[in-house]
């Protein structure tokens, strides 16, 4: 039972008024010196118990009269089934709109709002007559039609209701209601009612004016809102999770900020927050200072990753009645400090004129923390090559077949190589058997100066420079260059004005290789002295990084897609959640033009996920599904109740509340009760008065 005007209950102490009056009456008796005491005592002895009982009965009756009067004005109501006050009209075209948003997972400790809503929807469905139609639409922040049109197959609706599962999505009732109204418009005659089962979360009604307009456009359709649960449960939520730096490196502690919000009505003290990586045990934890009601607090915890690659972070607080938001995840890419190898012969004299010097300077400028090592080509081993993020070959002439073979293996295994020519000896590079895997062949050395052209820039390294207003490539020229003929499948990064490519690239195996037709020395081109050169080198480094695995943050229900190297096409894809053991197979890598594509449809459960591909230890992608923080605010709003296109008066006894039931006012019952009590009081009082 509830009260529609509970503030009137403040008058409940008035129940004590009869007692006070009784005590006041007893307060000042009239003193009488009495002679015939023996007869009075005899009468008292005979009647005292009876009179005391009578007084007690009258006192209780009068208190009950006041109590029922107060209760009557407080407008008592009981929760009844929505349709229990009367049978549904027949025939009826109904659409059941069931809120399955994340907030419906909140429970009173026994049953979730969704379970209650489903039961109530089933009860309403039981009241549909055989000639009625019913459809079912699930509502999150979008409409999810299950039985999209009103159907005479009520069993189908029933089965689908039984199969309904909750989601972790946010709520917006408008799309689902819009759909329901439209479907009922198309439905044949009869009374048309949309039955909305929702916890009436405030955010769900944020489109209230639009819903009102919607109902106005469909005056023949009524909206019956059945609010599940009286008010939102007290909730605490993790509403923010971020890491600094955003791309941490292995072994380096990173700072993680966790925002916790208190949506309860009292201050919360001693809330414990833990932080873990992937599915590991928590690495760090803290106890938050008291969080006043409606406020948030932040905790800064530290985490250290012991392996590179894609990882997930998991922050947790103790579970409450809405556990979905007590845990929040974040996907991060953990890198290692990159290592670059420059293959160059040591030269006598000023080393600042060598290609290695300029390449090294550019790498130092763009790759902070990177290790740049200059190695004579003859000393190159496969292990050295595989330890490098990329290899810059600045002395190709000094590299023998053995070194080119090592480099080819390295590239095919996923490495990246940039080859610069060196003097006359570089001619025919790419034409020899050991260098045929290079993307082009160097020809004659040309002493004709030429500048770059800014048109047709489609290569990933140079595509972003296509805007001449931002970057003027025509200022860059070459004095001495090589004729460069790209191999089949190779693409040019940029060309000279005579259509000779400056550089070409191709993918070889899992790796990539870029061949320049110009020496990176000031004698050949002023490019190396230009500030643009480090940017170009940085672009090359990014291009060569074959692992293009991505991290992202998704909303519940979103699908995930990521590109992977074409070599992985056809491989099985597995998904690992930070909230469950094991990996689930979710499909295969599909072919998409020149690359492979992983696509995982509709991931609903919040958490951190890592994507693995068959045959590879490292994850190729990671993402986090994060609950919309507005969904954590469980405060409720008055639901709309619409009849014949007009909004019914608030609290007119039609609004469905708590326990998935409709409040039915007990005005009549309490009036009768009050009347009976008054009559009983008067009758008893009269009887005792006349008996005197």
């Amino acid at each position: 039972m509830t009260f529609l005007a509970p503030w009137i209950l403040a008058a409940l102490p008035a129940v004590g008024v009869p007692v006070i009056i009784h005590l006041l009456n007893r307060g000042k008796p009239q003193p009488i010196r009495w002679a015939a005491m023996q007869f009075l005592l005899e009468s008292v002895h005979k009647n005292r118990r009876r009179l005391e009982l009578r007084d007690l009965i009258l006192l209780v009756l009068r208190a009950l009269v006041i109590l029922s009067l107060v209760l009557l004005f407080a407008r008592p109501a009981i929760w009844t089934l929505p349709g229990s006050s009367g049978l549904l009209p027949s025939p009826l075209s109904g659409m059941i709109v069931l809120d399955v948003s994340a907030s419906m997972a909140q429970s009173d400790g026994r049953r979730s709002r969704l379970e209650l809503a489903r039961d109530e929807a089933l009860k309403t469905l039981d009241q549909f007559s055989a000639d009625s139609l019913c459809g079912l639409i699930l509502a999150t922040d979008r409409a999810l039609p299950v039985v999209p049109r009103p159907s005479s197959n009520l069993e189908l609706v029933r089965d689908n209701l039984n199969a309904v599962r909750g989601t972790s999505s946010a709520t917006d009732l408008l799309p689902a209601l819009d759909r329901a109204f439209q479907e009922l418009d198309r439905s044949p005659g009869g009374k048309k009612i949309v039955f909305l089962y929702t916890d009436s979360q405030e955010s769900a009604w944020r489109e209230r004016p639009a819903i009102r307009d919607l109902a106005g456009k469909h005056p023949g359709t009524a909206l019956r809102s059945i609010q599940i649960g009286k008010a939102g449960e007290p909730n605490t939520a993790i509403t923010g999770l971020s890491i600094q730096p955003s791309a941490p490196t292995v072994g380096e502690p990173a700072k993680v900020r966790i925002d916790v919000s208190n949506y309860t009505e009292k201050t919360i003290d001693g809330l414990r927050v833990t932080l873990a990586a992937n599915r590991n045990k928590p690495q760090d934890e803290t106890t938050l200072p008291p969080i006043p009601a409606g406020k948030s607090a932040s905790a800064n915890l530290k985490i250290t990753f012991d392996a590179p690659g894609l990882q997930t972070l998991r922050a947790e607080i103790p579970q409450d009645l809405f556990p979905t938001d007590n845990l929040r995840s974040l996907a991060v890419r953990v890198g290692v400090p990159p290592k670059f190898l420059i293959l160059a012969e040591s030269r006598m004299g000023d080393h600042r004129t060598t290609p290695a010097y300029f390449v090294q300077t550019a790498l130092d400028a763009t790759q902070r923390g990177a290790e740049v090592r200059v190695l004579p080509p003859a000393q190159l081993t496969l292990a050295d090559a595989q330890a490098a993020s990329a290899i810059f070959v600045c002395s190709p002439a000094a590299s023998g077949d053995a070194q080119w073979t090592i480099l080819e293996k390295y590239v095919r295994g996923g490495g990246g190589v940039v080859v610069f020519p060196e003097g006359q000896s570089s001619a025919a590079l790419g034409a020899t058997p050991s260098t045929q895997w290079l993307p082009g062949t160097l020809g004659q050395r040309l002493a004709q100066p030429a500048s770059w052209v800014q048109s047709g820039l489609q290569h990933p390294v140079t595509a972003s420079w296509a805007d001449a207003n931002r970057t003027r490539l025509t200022n860059i020229s070459a004095d001495v260059r090589f004729e460069l003929s790209p191999h089949q499948g190779a693409s040019s990064l940029v060309k000279y004005s005579d259509d000779v490519p400056v550089a070409v690239s191709s993918e070889v195996g899992a790796g990539k290789v870029v061949l320049f037709g110009i020496e990176p020395v000031p004698n050949a081109t002023k490019l190396v002295l230009h500030p643009f050169f480090p940017i170009l080198v940085g672009g090359l480094v990014n291009y060569l990084a074959v692992e293009r695995a991505t991290t992202s943050t998704l909303r519940p229900g979103d699908s995930f897609s990521a590109s992977v190297p074409p070599a992985l096409i056809g491989s099985k894809v597995f998904l690992e959640s930070d909230r469950a053991d094991g990996r689930a197979e979710v499909g295969i890598v599909a072919a998409a033009e020149t690359e492979g594509r992983i696509k995982i449809p509709s991931i609903d459960n919040p958490g951190g996920y890592r994507v693995f591909v068959e045959g590879r230890e490292e994850s190729v992608a990671a993402f986090a599904v994060v609950l919309d923080s507005t969904e954590s605010v469980l405060t409720t709003a008055e639901p709309l109740e619409i009849e014949a296109g007009k909004e019914a008066a608030t609290g007119a006894g039609h609004t469905a509340v708590a326990g998935a039931k409709v409040p039915r006012e007990l005005w009549t019952i309490f009036s009768i009760l009050l009347l009976l009590l008054c009559v009983a009081e008067l009758a008893i009082a009269h009887r005792f008065t006349t008996a005197r």
């Binding site: 009239q30 009495w34 015939a36 005592l41 005899e42 009468s43 008292v44």
Partner: protein
């Protein structure tokens, strides 16, 4: 009724507790009642009292024809007078209860005041008709006593002593009756003024003692109007006059049962009187003394004529 109205009118100014505390006013009231009563009266209500037949004697001129034995005359055609064993003056003993229970009065006067007025009036009336009167004021013992006297001048003494009596102690009417029975063997009239709030068996025993000695007993049952009607309202605390008990209650709740109890009590006293051939007179203090006494004396007159 006319008599009662006149008597009541005269009585009213004197019916005041302070006035009654003075012998003069008591006397004035008694006189006014008695005189009012005697207007038009030809015979005393106490005449021809129960004196026993002894013998006949022949009539001689000057004898009162009232004592002529008409039956003998009818049978023998001779004139004989009836002679009675005792042919002396009437003695009336006034027994006045002055116990604490008599101190109750819902109006201005208490039951004791009322009883005093009745006793004074009777004493005055008896002395006026040349009969003798004696007085005993008692509670559990003798509070005051005036020996029998037919001296009309003694009335002032009687009134003075009545006036100063105040209520105290418990009631023992039976003891007072026994004292009278023991002290005075000669037949007379015992007039008792009391509320009779005492042991009823003892009371009956006392009456029987008096009756055994052929005393006539008249019981004036003096009760306050509230004791009979119990018309209190609101919350009251009753404190016993002769008991230490005290009780707080709403009188309306107990009225019905109380009235039944007091009614039964009156009936019992009345039955005791009837069983012992006594006169019972209920003296409700809300009624004028003249009305109560007048009513009773008129009754006696009628009874005397019919005898």
């Amino acid at each position: 009724m006319k008599l009662h109205a006149v008597a009541k009118e005269r009585e009213q100014p004197l019916f005041d507790p302070e006035a009654l505390a003075r012998a003069e006013s008591l006397g004035l009231m008694a006189r006014s009642i008695v005189e009012g009563y005697r207007v038009g009266a030809h015979r005393s209500p106490f005449q021809g009292f129960a004196l026993e037949f002894a013998q006949h004697r022949e009539y001689t001129a000057g004898d009162d024809l009232r004592h002529l034995d008409w039956k003998v005359l009818g049978k023998t055609d001779r004139y004989f007078l009836k002679q009675y064993e005792q042919d002396t003056n009437l003695v009336a003993w006034l027994l006045l209860d002055a116990s604490e229970s008599m101190d109750y009065g819902s109006a201005k006067i208490t039951k004791l005041h009322y009883a005093k007025a009745c006793a004074a009036t009777l004493a005055h009336a008896i002395l006026l008709q040349k009969d003798a009167v004696g007085l005993e004021v008692f509670d559990v013992g003798i509070r005051d006593q005036i020996e029998r006297t037919d001296n009309q001048g003694k009335i002032h003494e009687i009134l003075r002593r009545l006036a100063v009596i105040e209520a105290s102690g418990k009631t023992d009417v039976a003891a007072a009756m026994e004292r009278v029975a023991l002290a005075f063997r000669r037949r007379g009239i015992a007039v008792v003024f009391s509320d009779f709030f005492e042991d009823e068996d003892r009371l009956e025993h006392g009456i029987q003692r008096l009756r055994f000695l052929r005393h006539e007993v008249i019981l004036f049952h003096v009760l306050d109007h509230q004791e009979i009607a119990f018309e209190f309202r609101g919350s009251c605390r009753f404190k016993g006059l002769e008991t230490a008990s005290s009780i707080q209650l709403a009188p309306e709740d107990y009225r019905k049962d109380y009235l039944r109890a007091i009614g039964e009590f009156q009936a019992r006293i009345r039955r005791i009187a009837e069983r012992n051939a006594c006169h019972y007179v209920l003296a409700d203090t809300s009624h004028p003394v003249a009305e109560v006494l007048g009513g009773y004396l008129s009754l006696r007159l009628r009874m005397g004529r019919s005898r």
